[in-house]
Symmetry: C2
Subunit: 496 residues, 2 copies
């Protein structure tokens, strides 16, 4: 088959995949934002039908020959599309349908049991539900690995191109070097902001202003509101992010908007004409998270960002914000406080929670750890890494939904995001200038321009390790992240 | 094949159709309410992909044998599902793919040309675009009719079970009897309401209150806002309607909410357990319109409805509504004023516009009328029926989008809705009591209960003529509608 004809067939096949993915995203966005409770069952059924149609379209044998030809293309975008297509088709073909069904059922049951057992601290119920699920997830990893390492195969679902062997030394060094920092910084930062109330509609409006200010194109997307902030690509030209509102704390809505805004800028930065191909996306979750963390942590924690936002804050909250200055926000934000819950932890300690989970979930897959021993291993591990011990099961191994949903190999992507964000920030500061100075002098535009050129513009042409190496000049390393922590929190500590 | 096994296969096949239809409805609802402009192209592509998947699923030969067996079921719901399935499959099989493609393209072009040509009064551009479209629509009717009458086949797309031969005498008698009424009532009714402003959010909140008051279950649906009011079923338990807001006129949002609320109550009244079958829907557009028109015209134009709404109006609009009493609303609403635009015309003259269009579009399909002669025929026909003559092309044959979109056979369903609504109202008054008295004494619940039992509960088990015959004891007739007009507008005239 000729290359051009093969590409025509492949693009048509990928276009249908893109349409099905976009349609599913519309259904999910609607569900998270406005769907009435009565619609839940029908919506689940619609999503399952779209997933089944996607699965059979993905495996359509008619596309196979064309994809083989496209894989040999000299055009890196075409070759990348064929590579991603082959990976997705191989994965779908390797996992028996019966296993997929068992996993789906066990995952639904796991989440349901977890929702009920966590508030009650019912460890036995939780163990009962996740034991078969972990076994099925191991089977899944083995089926995907096709003779290779099952945990690597699971990581590969979320972070293609990265293996546990690449991760482990970085996580170990990170753990060893963050721990003394924690001891030094614990208690750094200032008191929380006054409890307001901080007007709810004003917070939503300010969040939308913040994302537009950093470069979000509101004609090609929108800012909504959900219980859990999220970013979704609903198709080319329709990127949506959401925030949440806590009337006692405006940092929650603003930082969520910055975080999701980072994801959304990535989505909007993918070249429009690639969007209907399999190369027109981010190469991994870690790559995506690097963008959200960049804006959240390397921009959103600087005094210059808050100085820039100050007029907006005073206008939005004329009462409560009138008496606050920039440092009040920065210090409240950069408060370091050891505590057992991952999602509530600060920037300094966050990754220790991830190191713990990565070690434990790998041991679950290798069989070195049994689910029945997980709660104790979790508490012991937290004590060793953070120096604190959970006082209740809901603060320990049961705290996250991931394992109860059969999601293993996902946790490391959070830390990869943090490390890549810091590597990108360091490269940017080296080449463009200190982020705070750039913000003060020119606003966020040069920061976005750097990310657009180094990351967004490349879609999935390279795997993440290669993309980041070219963008930053370095292999995966924790050094820039540690330097960022020292700088940010040392200066914050000195403010307090 | 055994009946039970056949039914299992059929329900699975229909469930996938329901999921695809529901998913498409979610995509459309989102598009009409919040989609950013940049998303339009991707959304069109997603909807086209879902339509293509629906088409190939509809024609799936694997379902054929099972549907044949189900057609012989003694269960009327099952037999009705099989009947609708066969009709849809026959239609899809009869129309060549090339014709479908040509129609889609000509329809898109027709709408685009119409949008531009109408404001400019460019009759020639409009004729140029719709001439080939009408020819294709005739081909479509001929393909569907399979030897029968092409216009009947087109009507059948929207109003199965009703033919032009059934319609014509009713429309003729309606035209003959409305005309003298128009002469008598022209100018009846009171002045418009004061221009306010009538607060926008208060109008939205009041519209939602109105639909909940008539029985809409807000846990199984929601009330939104669109440029053109609409009702959509997004799946079992998720029925959505929208209204619009004109800050100078609250009647616009309230009457649109009542109209769409009537459609939504019908959708919510379909037995939940039938929703994933092809019998779990209304049997026709005319049947659906009978429900919207019932609440809009037979409830929403009564003094008792406005008396019931009076406290809500005074609370929502404390300034402007304070000085108004019930009669002010009723008289402003029931104003009779001859004018050439269908969508702006009053209840008395509305159906004369439909009679005109039905006569003309049938002549276009039979070939008795050429598109080039349509503008003059339209103006002459309006003068004969209403006694007024359009003064510009945009007031004449070009005013509606339907013909420019290749939609022929649809107009009669509006008048069928009005006639069936009046037939139902008459039956209800005979059996339950005068609507005004019921509203004043018990509120809207007994009215909804009557419609639920007579109409909603039956889904698509019967075709519309049979459904309405059983519900009202009568064949299609204009008598109750004319009696309603005489009563409503005579009393309004006496108020003025």
């Amino acid at each position: 088959m000729e290359q051009e004809r093969a590409w025509d067939i492949a693009t048509q096949w990928m276009g249908t995949l893109a349409d099905l993915d976009g349609a599913a995203a519309v259904l999910e966005w609607d569900r998270e934002t406005i769907m009435p409770p009565g619609g839940a069952e029908a919506r689940g059924s619609q999503l399952a039908t779209l997933a089944a149609l996607r699965h059979s379209h993905l495996l359509d044998p008619a596309a196979g020959d064309a994809l083989e030809v496209v894989a040999d293309s000299d055009d890196p975008w075409r070759a990348a599309s064929a590579r991603v297509a082959r990976r997705e088709r191989d994965r779908a073909a390797r996992v028996p349908e019966a296993l997929v069904r068992s996993l789906t059922e066990a995952s639904s049951r796991g989440v349901a049991v977890w929702s009920e057992a966590r508030p009650k601290g019912d460890v036995q119920a939780w163990i009962g539900a996740i034991t078969p699920l972990i076994a099925l997830t191991r089977d899944h990893g083995e089926a995907l690995a096709d003779g290779g390492d099952p945990y690597d195969a699971l990581i590969d679902l979320y972070e293609p191109g990265t293996t546990h062997a690449m991760l482990e030394p970085v996580l170990d060094s990170l753990a060893a070097r963050v721990r003394p920092l924690v001891d030094h910084l614990a208690g750094a930062g200032g008191p929380p902001l006054p409890p307001g109330p901080w007007d709810d509609p004003a917070q939503m409006a300010l969040a939308a202003d913040v994302v537009r200010d950093i470069g979000f194109d509101a004609t090609r997307g929108l800012v909504g509101r959900t219980a859990h902030p999220v970013t979704m690509g609903l198709g080319a030209g329709d990127t949506r992010l959401s925030t949440r509102v806590d009337v006692s704390d405006p940092l929650s809505s603003i930082m969520a908007a910055l975080h999701e805004g980072g994801h959304a800028l990535y989505d909007q930065g993918i070249p429009e004409e690639r969007r209907r191909t399999l190369a027109g996306d981010a190469p991994s979750l870690g790559a995506h998270e690097s963008q959200s963390r960049f804006w959240e942590n390397h921009v959103g924690r600087t005094p210059e960002f808050w100085a820039r936002l100050q007029p907006g804050l005073r206008q939005a909250f004329p009462g409560v914000a009138g008496a606050l200055d920039t440092d009040d926000y920065v210090r409240a934000l950069n408060r370091v406080q050891l505590q057992p819950i991952r999602v509530e932890s600060d920037e300094v300690t966050y990754d220790l929670h991830i190191v713990l989970r990565t070690r434990l979930e790998r041991a679950l897959i290798t069989g070195d750890l049994q689910v029945a021993d997980l709660p104790l291993a979790f508490d012991d591990g937290m004590e060793a890494l953070l120096g604190i011990r959970p006082t209740a099961p809901a603060e320990g191994a049961m705290q996250d939904v991931h394992w109860a949903a059969g999601i293993i190999g996902y946790f490391p992507t959070y830390t990869l995001g943090n490390l890549y964000a810091a590597m990108l920030a360091e490269a940017l500061e080296r080449e463009v200038g200190p982020i705070g100075d750039v913000l003060a002098a020119e606003g966020p535009a040069p920061l976005l321009a750097f990310l657009r050129e180094r990351v967004h513009a490349h879609g999935r042409v390279m795997e993440t390790p290669e993309l980041m190496r070219r963008a930053t000049g370095s292999d995966l390393t924790a050094d820039p992240f540690l330097a960022h922590l020292e700088r940010t929190y040392a200066s914050t500590a000195s403010l307090s």
